[in-house]
């Protein structure tokens, strides 16, 4: 999966956390067969919960590309791709890393 956070590729220690883009910390999770870097376990849980919600909303079995723009203060506008199909959405998390808002902005799937 190609991950872009606020304009920069992410998902490794050198590039940054797959959810927020930070290079602090060193938490790893296996996601869709890839070892992804996160700054902490909260970001990892948020990312996985977001991905599950996305798959539930679209019926996709995998995500090829995820572009995330935003942060804690603004929430996150995202664009996901699966082959030729795509979905734009806004996501926000609660204090237990759960998805509290998942708002579909536009879809082509």
């Amino acid at each position: 999966m190609r991950i872009v956070v606020n304009g920069e590729e992410a998902g490794t220690k050198e590039k940054g956390c797959a959810l927020c883009g930070a290079t602090w910390g060193g938490w790893y999770e296996e996601v869709e067969g890839e070892r992804l870097f996160f700054c902490c376990h909260v970001c990892a849980r948020e990312f996985i919960n977001m991905l599950n919600k996305l798959k539930q909303a679209t019926g996709w079995d995998r995500v090829d590309e995820l572009v995330i723009n935003g942060d804690y203060y603004r929430g996150r506008n995202c664009e996901a791709r699966h082959g030729e199909r795509s979905l734009s959405f806004y996501v926000k998390f609660g204090e237990d890393a759960e998805v509290t808002t998942f708002r579909i902005l536009s879809e082509n799937h």
């Binding site: 602090w24 910390g25 700054c39 909260v42 203060y73 603004r74 929430g75 609660g94 808002t101 708002r103």
Partner: protein
């Protein structure tokens, strides 16, 4: 005295705080990593750089420090989305404001009452009771902000009973819970945590570097909005500058541990951001109802 802004242990120097934070960040401790991400940098730093940045971040007199940090968080390069929405607010955005803010205001006066109970300083008691009167009780000649808020909702077509019976969204609940926790701290910290939020409608914040005002001031003279909307916005526009400034002067006068007050204020700002997003989320759900 230097303090870890995440877990709030006191240490003898900023070097010790740096060692402590670096060690916690290396272990991916969420509280420490999140604090660094939200306040200093997303990019990992050397210990030397981190020590320098931490010390610089916490330096400065309390009142201007709070104002600067508030502007950075809410009115900086990327203003908060709720403030952006308020530059040209839809009916749903204003109703989202009404529905979530009624819960904020009830909690507001409950926490201010706690300050009154805890402090022995008469100027603080007088100030807080005045604020409670303006925000929640009102006078014969001047309705309370709470009442003006409900009238704004009614003017936009929502019945008072419907407004009052709508429970808060989860983000609002989480923010209120944070403020209730902060109210267990020393009353000066609680006072700083709450009244720094009144900077949001401070009409002269642009002088200090804010990029936009809380709302588009043209609304106050526009024919496109009901009078009750203008009355509510105008009241905050006129009052919050004095509320915030006077309260922050009192905080500065009575604060003993400035670093701890600063750490508390940042926690309040994080809760406030979450709460403002709830107003927008409420607006989106109202828009969805209209479409359905």
């Amino acid at each position: 005295m230097p303090i870890c802004p995440a877990c709030e242990i006191k240490l003898d120097s900023w070097r010790s705080v740096t060692d402590h934070m670096s060690e916690r960040a290396q272990r991916s401790d969420p509280a420490h990593v999140m604090w660094l991400n939200r306040n200093l940098s997303l990019r990992e730093m050397t210990k030397e750089e981190l020590e320098e940045r931490l010390e610089a971040f916490f330096s400065g007199e309390l009142k201007p420090w709070i104002i600067s940090r508030f502007i950075e968080k809410f009115y900086g390069e990327k203003p908060h989305p709720f403030m952006v929405a308020m530059q040209n607010p839809s009916r749903e955005v204003l109703l989202g404001y009404v529905i979530e803010h009624q819960h904020f205001l009830v909690n507001w006066v409950r926490i201010l009452s706690k300050i009154v109970y805890e402090t022995e300083e008469l100027p603080v008691i007088r100030y807080e009771l005045g604020n409670i009167t303006t925000e929640f009780v009102g006078t014969e000649s001047s309705p309370a902000h709470y009442e003006l808020l409900l009238r704004m909702g009614e003017s936009l077509g929502m019945k008072r009973e419907k407004i009052l019976s709508t429970p808060p969204l989860k983000g609002t609940v989480e923010a209120i819970n944070t403020w209730r926790k902060l109210s267990q701290r020393h009353w000066v910290e609680t006072m700083a945590a709450m009244h720094s939020l009144e900077l949001v409608a401070h009409k002269n914040l642009r002088r200090y570097g804010a990029r936009i005002h809380y709302f588009n001031e043209r609304i106050l003279d526009s024919q496109d909005f009901p009078e009750a909307v203008k009355n509510f916005l105008r009241e905050g526009y006129e009052a919050d500058q004095y509320h915030a400034e006077e309260a922050l002067d009192l905080v500065e006068r009575y604060a003993v541990d400035q670093e701890r007050v600063k750490v508390t204020v940042l926690k309040s700002f994080d809760a406030f951001s979450k709460y403002l997003l709830s107003r927008l989320e409420r607006a989106w759900s109202l828009e969805a109802e209209v479409i359905a």
